[in-house]
Symmetry: C2
Subunit: 444 residues, 2 copies
């Protein structure tokens, strides 16, 4: 039986013993050069646990990796943390030694302000690359956020707003479930929008089997009152991210700053999970994956200029690497993505992308079909490489909804992979080309 | 001293003993469903040599490969051919056994009509994937083209027009040079526009060292009256394509139909080139590469929706594979391409793409700069990972021309690679999304 996860309010502060706050400190205003009060947007978030927590993280595998990522890689490896400070409007990436000094200053100031142990604060940044952080703003922001910390849904929403860049809405969720007889909560928030195709690993190192073309600035912060060993928390997160954030793409570009962090403070009082054999472990892992996937899908839906979200399901591949390569080639093909935008069920472009992917493909084995989200009723447009009798009108109808699933069966083996992908629209181009005469329009 | 290639008129029929013709046979009209005479576009080309010629070819490495490509792979391996028949409006790809029957029927009819030897005709197709060729049109077209064959520039232009799909203009060139005391001519034509990032090999097989993300429907046909052994012609073409068509990208999608064919009929009367040690070989190879590069650049300039063409020059990589991977990652990044469209000299997006490429990159070693086409005066925006003092206004000016060069020095080794790339514009999206209520707007 699939475990049940009951939705609850409060997102990042839903679990016991967590407080958060999101404030204005003018990093975004400076970043954009806009002077008016009206344009002011929240840009600094603090998340804090009442007690030291187990921590785990996943980070971009981009070789150009921002200072805050380097700090978190080092600190999460120790397994304990108590707070996270995050700014938006500036990625603190490609900022050299000053960038590292600033990232460490952010954590030190957070620790000092909140009275935490040395090295117990983590840090995240997102925004434009290559600009040094305005530390006066950041310092004022940390002080302000510390003054407004709280545990209401409003606090969570402010915190979620303050990590946004080109996102149009805050993205958050929390669930409640039973673990070892106790009620446990797990919640979180994330941001995305552009530079979205994460490929994260626990330490930023590239796995030998890294999917080709890993690539987002996405940040995700998770909190839970479950009691779990930090090593197991890392294992659970790694699996959850592999099936959620590492399976999404908006534009195929992997960011320098992708980060997922989870804090588990143990205040729910369940017997601590210290082994995978604990029956609570798979329940906890499933909850974590459920929350990560829900947040990951929110990122795709709110991607820059996105009109349609398509779940690309590849099955029947010779290996997982093949399945993943096939799904990514389709999910990142400019021609496939523009056809989705146009509502055109163009299987020619799909099979073309499969053919140039690194996956082994046999033309007269390929099936391509469409279904509603989560439905098993598939309308096939291609079977064993041959067009079916499905009418163009029927296929257009299947490719018309704002969300649908694309099913690709290679019929060569037993392996599968899924990508959550977006269409490519004029708005994406319009947004990202910006306007050099108004640098406030230029993105990260 | 670099050999000199004098531009001459006549393109595909500039060399002695070649004739061509391009006619209307309504494949495009059927393909689009448009009924009016006004919309009629040339869609069938014949190219024929007066005598059997040495032949060489390069073909898509897409695993989904069209029937005409399969026919040409097999025939060029024999080293002799005399004619090429090409249709546009229909790619004859993913058309199964019928597709192969139709491709062979096209060559048989051409041989019969022109009185050629068995297997001496080659075939090319470009257009929508997955639709069976309208063979009645094709038959009428071959007969009509055979009646209008000729050797004037007008014949060349009609032939070049009849292979166009979304191209806005015919692309052709011819040069004259001296070889072994004789005047030799080499000319050709090509088409491109979308699905453009070719990765061709002599037999469609993927080389072990295939650049990642090889990917056009591009067709190119070349003719020369030079006398050269077919094996050497193949070697010269392979090298020329590696430095021209395999270095271009419009949208990163590799087609099922990419084909380059060259016929060398020997009528110039130079002593036949039968070894690489013949001093004429490097001259001939350079001429071939010159013509291929000129045609390849025309494809990028006339790519779907393209406003800006950028030459991405990577140097200082640890290996050629690294240099190529770095150049392709930058040339295919949606965010880099939209910033080019906007005239935004955004080095953050460039270094981000370098970081997620398969190439080894060290952040504090990377240089990024801009120059005019062919100029050695580079304006650096980044040196050793640090922003230079170049002003934003100066960098914007460098990124403003319709064509410019982007210089990336990795400073880790001695290897380099070049990509000829295009920006990503609203027009590309607009064009490729099409309109399902008017299938004539839907592309290949």
């Amino acid at each position: 039986m699939k475990p049940k996860f009951k939705p609850v309010e409060g997102a990042i502060v839903a679990a016991q013993g967590f407080r958060a706050g999101g404030v204005f400190c003018d990093i975004k205003r400076l970043g954009t050069g806009k002077g008016s009060e009206k344009g002011r947007k929240r840009d600094l978030t603090l998340i804090v646990s009442d007690v030291p927590s187990a921590v785990a993280g996943m980070f971009t595998t981009n070789q150009i990796c921002a200072a805050p990522v380097k700090v978190c890689v080092s600190r999460t490896s120790k397994g304990v943390a108590q707070a996270i400070v995050v700014n938006s409007g500036n990625a603190n990436a490609c900022t050299g030694r000053q960038g590292m000094k600033d990232a460490l200053a952010m954590t030190a100031l957070t620790e000092e302000t909140l009275g935490l142990g040395d090295g117990h604060a983590l840090v995240g940044s997102t925004g434009r690359i290559g600009v040094v952080l305005p530390m006066d703003c950041v310092r004022a922001g940390i002080a302000a956020a510390a003054r407004v910390l709280g545990s209401t849904p409003k606090h969570a929403t402010h915190a979620a707003e303050a990590i946004m860049t080109s996102d149009t809405r805050p993205k958050q969720i929390a669930v409640e479930f039973r673990l070892g007889g106790r009620v446990v909560r797990l919640g979180g928030m994330c941001k995305g929008a552009g530079m979205i195709q994460p490929g994260m690993s626990p330490n930023g190192a590239r796995p030998a089997t890294a999917p080709q073309g890993l690539h987002a600035t996405m940040l995700c912060f998770l909190t839970t009152d479950a009691s779990i060993d930090a090593g197991l928390l890392q294992g659970a997160l790694q699996e959850a991210v592999a099936h959620s954030f590492n399976c999404i793409t908006v534009d195929g570009d992997m960011s320098t700053n992708d980060t997922v962090l989870v804090l588990a403070n143990g205040l729910a009082g369940n017997r601590k999970i210290t082994t995978r054999r604990n029956p609570g472990y798979p329940v906890f892992q499933a909850a974590l994956q459920h929350v990560c996937l829900a947040l990951a899908r929110m990122i795709v839906r709110d991607g820059e200029g996105v009109h349609r979200v398509v779940t690309v399901r590849v099955t029947g591949a010779k290996s997982f690497t093949d399945a993943d390569a096939a799904a990514r080639a389709v999910a990142n093909s400019s021609l496939v993505k523009t056809s989705w935008h146009g509502g055109d069920p163009n299987w020619g472009r799909i099979i073309d992308a499969l053919g140039y992917s690194a996956a082994t493909i046999v033309e007269d084995q390929v099936d391509i079909g469409y279904s509603a989200v989560g439905s098993k009723r598939i309308l096939w447009s291609l079977r064993r490489g041959q067009p079916t009798k499905a009418t163009f009108a029927a296929l257009c109808k299947a490719a018309a909804p704002a969300e649908f699933e694309l099913h690709i069966r290679l019929n060569l083996g037993d392996h599968g992979a899924v990508m959550y992908a977006a269409d490519l629209t004029e708005e994406y181009v319009e947004f990202n080309k910006g306007n050099v005469t108004d640098p406030s329009t230029l993105g990260g």
